[in-house]
C-alpha cells in the first residue's frame, strides 16, 4: 500500500511581502539591514562615489593617462615623509595626553550623581556643541603671549618672559587634546557604567586593596573603552586641519594642511588626491587592525 502525501501549497512571498519583512527565508539580520537602505544609498552617492573619483584622480598623470608619479614623488620627497611622520607623532601624543586627562574625568563622570553629573556632562559636551573655529580662537585668547595664562603667570611673578604656548607644537597639542576630549571620555565612562559593582566588591573580599582592585579589575574592564577612545582620537587627529592651522607654527604643517596647500595654492589636485588616498589607507588600516585585535564590534553591542 502506498501512502499519498498531500502536497502543501508553498507560499511564495511577493516583493511587497519582502519589503515588509514577511519573507521567512529572509534572515532577520538581513531584514533589519533593509532599514538601512536610505542611509546606504546616501553614502553610496555622496561619499563612496566621490571617494572613488578621488582615488582615480590620484592615479592620473599631469600629462594625461595613468601613472603613479604622484605617489612616487611623495615617497621620494623627504619633506612629505617628514610631514606624514609628524602627523602620526602629534596624533599619538594627543591620544596619550587625552587618555591621561580623560580617564580620571570619565571615572568622576560615571561615579557622579544628580547635579554634579549634569555639570560634568555639560562641561564635556558644551565645547562639543561649539563651533570649532570659535574654540580655536578661544584658545588663542587664552594661550597668546598677552593672553589669559601668560598675564596670570606674569602677574603672579612666576615668569619673566611670556611662555610660548601657541603658534607652536605645544599649542597644537593643547588645542587638539581639549577638542578630542569627549571622544575619549564618553566610551570610557560608558564602560565604567556598564561594570558590575559586585566585581569590585568581590575583589575586595578576596583580599585586594583598593589600589590593586583598580589595577587588576577596574582598569582592565575599562580597556575596551580606552581602546575605542584612543582609536577615535588618533584617527580624527590624523586628518585634523583647523587646530594645527590656527594654533600651530610655521613648522607644524600636518598632512591635512599639506593637502589644503596643494589644492588651493599650488593647484596640484592630483598630488592632493594621492595624499588623501594615503591618509585614507592609513586610517582604514588602523580600523582593520583594531577590529581584528580589540574586537571593536563588542563596543557597540551590549556586553553581558
Amino acid at each position: 500500500m502506498t501512502t499519498t502525501v498531500q502536497a502543501v501549497p508553498k507560499w511564495t512571498p511577493t516583493a511587497l511581502d519582502r519589503l515588509w519583512g514577511r519573507d521567512p527565508d529572509l534572515r532577520p539580520a538581513l531584514r533589519r539591514g533593509l532599514l538601512g537602505t536610505p542611509g546606504l544609498l546616501f553614502i553610496l552617492v555622496f561619499f563612496l562615489y566621490p571617494l572613488f573619483l578621488l582615488v582615480e584622480l590620484s592615479f592620473q598623470a599631469k600629462a594625461g593617462g595613468w601613472s603613479s608619479e604622484h605617489y612616487l614623488r611623495i615617497f621620494n620627497t623627504t619633506v612629505y615623509a617628514q610631514i606624514i611622520w609628524k602627523t602620526a607623532w602629534i596624533s599619538a601624543t594627543v591620544t596619550l595626553l587625552n587618555f591621561l586627562v580623560a580617564y580620571p574625568f570619565a571615572v568622576a563622570l560615571a561615579r557622579s550623581k544628580g547635579w554634579v553629573r549634569i555639570v560634568l556632562l555639560i562641561s564635556i559636551l558644551m565645547p562639543f556643541w561649539t563651533n570649532l573655529l570659535v574654540r580655536a580662537y578661544g584658545w588663542i585668547v587664552v594661550l597668546h603671549p598677552r593672553g589669559l595664562i601668560n598675564t596670570m603667570l606674569g602677574g603672579l611673578g612666576l615668569i619673566g618672559e611670556p611662555v610660548a604656548i601657541v603658534h607652536n607644537t605645544t599649542g597644537v597639542l593643547i588645542g587638539m587634546t581639549q577638542i578630542m576630549l569627549p571622544y575619549m571620555v564618553l566610551p570610557i565612562a560608558a564602560q565604567i557604567e556598564k561594570m558590575d559593582g559586585r566585581l569590585l566588591q568581590a575583589a575586595r573580599s578576596l583580599g585586594a586593596s583598593p589600589l590593586r582592585t583598580f589595577a587588576h579589575v577596574f582598569f582592565p574592564l575599562t580597556l575596551p573603552g580606552v581602546f575605542a577612545g584612543a582609536l577615535m582620537v588618533f584617527v580624527l587627529s590624523l586628518g585634523f586641519f583647523v587646530i594645527p592651522a590656527l594654533l600651530g607654527g610655521r613648522r607644524d604643517i600636518l598632512i591635512a594642511q599639506l593637502i589644503h596647500f596643494n589644492l588651493t595654492k599650488v593647484l596640484n589636485w592630483e598630488l592632493a588626491a594621492a595624499l588623501s588616498t594615503i591618509l585614507l589607507v592609513i586610517t582604514l588600516g588602523i580600523f582593520l587592525a583594531a577590529q581584528r585585535w580589540f574586537r571593536l564590534n563588542s563596543l557597540w553591542s551590549e556586553v553581558k
Binding site: 573580599s205 583580599g207 590593586r212
Partner: protein
C-alpha cells in the same frame, strides 16, 4: 592551617547589630552567634535586612550600632580585604577578563604567594568543586552551574574561617539547584567551614542549615534548627513564611502546665501547645495542613477532632490537598497519596483530627 584536610571554621558573633538608612531601620538589634563549623541560614523575604546583615559581616556596609566578632576578635575596624572572609555573591561576580584558574588564584595572588603554591592550591580548589582541568576555560564558556562552582572555589581557596553566601543558587534552575545544595553541604562538612548563608527560599534553608534565622523587617524573629522553626514557630510570621499553615481565630480559654485550650469562633474548643499568654486573650491557633488527618487512627496523645465537610479536592501527585469547612472556618489539609486510598469529593462529611501538640498558639493582632 593545613593544606589538605579540615579548616577550622571560625565563630561569628553579631552583637546588637543595627543599620539605619535615614528613617528606615534595615537591621534592628540583631544578636546571633554562629558556632565553628555551623551552617546558619538567614531566611527572609526581600527587604527583610538579610543581605544588609551579610554585607555588614563582609565589610561593605558599616553598622550604625553593634559589634561583629570573628573568633572573639572585632573586625569592624578592618576593610573588606583585611577580613579574610570568603564571599560568594548572588551573580557569582567572576572576573570576565580572567580565565577560571586566574579567577580562583586571584585571592592567592593578592596574598603574594609564590607562583608554584598558587598553581597547586588553585588546582586543589578546582578539585574540591569537581572542575579539574577547567583552569584555562574562559568564564563565558561555562554553564551557570560551573560558574557557581568557580565562585565557590575562589571563595574557598584561601581557606577563610567563614564563608558568606548571598543567594548563591538564585540564578540556577531547580535540578541544578538541588545538585548544588548537596555539593555545598558536602564541601562545608568536609572542610568544617562556618557558613552564613542568605536566601529567601525556605526549602533551601530547611535542606542546608544546621540552624535557620528567620528575619522580617530587620528583626530576627526566630533562630533554631529546621525542625524547631517549622514545628514550633515563635511568631505567626514565621509560621506563615515557612510552609503552609491554617490560622484559626479564637480566644485562649485555658492554659495549664504543658497545654492550652482555645475556644474557636464557632464555639468548639481545641487543645494546643503551651503558651504564656493570659487566659481570655484573643489568639490565633496554627496547624499545618499535613498534620491534619481525615481518620482518627495511629496518632499518639490527645487529639483535636472536628466534624467537617469537604469543599474542594486537588490532586498534587505526591499528596492530595483538601479544603474543608468546619462551620465558618476553612482549613487546608494535605494527605499523602496512597494506593487504594479513598478520595473524598466535595460535599463528603468527614472528621478532621490532629494532635494537640501540632497546634501552636499566637497572640492575635500582633506579629
Amino acid at each position: 592551617m593545613t593544606r589538605s584536610g579540615k579548616t577550622i571554621g571560625g565563630r561569628v558573633e553579631l552583637i546588637g547589630l543595627s543599620r539605619d538608612y535615614g528613617d528606615v531601620q534595615a537591621v534592628r538589634n540583631v544578636d546571633v552567634t554562629v558556632a565553628p563549623g555551623e551552617f546558619l541560614t538567614i531566611l527572609g523575604a526581600s527587604g527583610s535586612g538579610k543581605t544588609t546583615t551579610l554585607m555588614m559581616i563582609a565589610g561593605f556596609v558599616t553598622p550604625s550600632e553593634g559589634e561583629i566578632r570573628i573568633n572573639g576578635e572585632s573586625i569592624l575596624g578592618r576593610p573588606p580585604d583585611k577580613r579574610n572572609l570568603g564571599v560568594v555573591f548572588q551573580s557569582y561576580a567572576l572576573f570576565p577578563h580572567m580565565n577560571v584558574a586566574d579567577n580562583v588564584g586571584f585571592p592567592l595572588r593578592m596574598r603574594n604567594l609564590p607562583k608554584a603554591e598558587i598553581k597547586a592550591q588553585t588546582e586543589e580548589a578546582l578539585g574540591i568543586v569537581h572542575l579539574e582541568g577547567y583552569g584555562t576555560r574562559r568564564i563565558d564558556e561555562l554553564s551557570g552551574g560551573q560558574q557557581q562552582r568557580v565562585a565557590l572555589a575562589r571563595a574557598l581557596v584561601f581557606r577563610p574561617p567563614v564563608l558568606l553566601m548571598d543567594e548563591p543558587l538564585g540564578a540556577l534552575d531547580r535540578k541544578l539547584r538541588e545538585q548544588m545544595q548537596l555539593e555545598i553541604k558536602r564541601i562545608q562538612r568536609s572542610l568544617g567551614l562556618t557558613v552564613v548563608y542568605v536566601t529567601h527560599d525556605q526549602e533551601e534553608a530547611l535542606i542546608l542549615s544546621d540552624r535557620i534565622a528567620i528575619m522580617h523587617e530587620g528583626r530576627m524573629h526566630q533562630i533554631g534548627s529546621p525542625d524547631a522553626v517549622y514545628e514550633r514557630p515563635a511568631t505567626a510570621y514565621v509560621a506563615d513564611f515557612l510552609g503552609e499553615s491554617n490560622f484559626l481565630d479564637g480566644v485562649l480559654s485555658e492554659s495549664t502546665g504543658g497545654t492550652s485550650t482555645v475556644r474557636l469562633a464557632g464555639g468548639k474548643t481545641i487543645g494546643a501547645q503551651a503558651c504564656n499568654l493570659p487566659v481570655g486573650s484573643p489568639v490565633q491557633a496554627m496547624v499545618r495542613p499535613e498534620s491534619i488527618h481525615l481518620t482518627t487512627a495511629e496518632t499518639a496523645g490527645p487529639v483535636n477532632s472536628l466534624a467537617a465537610v469537604i469543599e474542594e479536592s486537588e490532586y498534587l501527585g505526591q499528596s492530595i490537598r483538601y479544603l474543608a469547612a468546619v462551620g465558618e472556618l476553612r482549613l487546608t489539609l494535605r494527605e499523602p497519596r496512597r494506593d487504594g486510598q479513598r478520595r473524598y469529593a466535595p460535599g463528603d462529611a468527614v472528621t478532621l483530627s490532629w494532635p494537640h501538640r501540632a497546634t501552636v498558639v499566637f497572640p492575635r493582632g500582633g506579629g
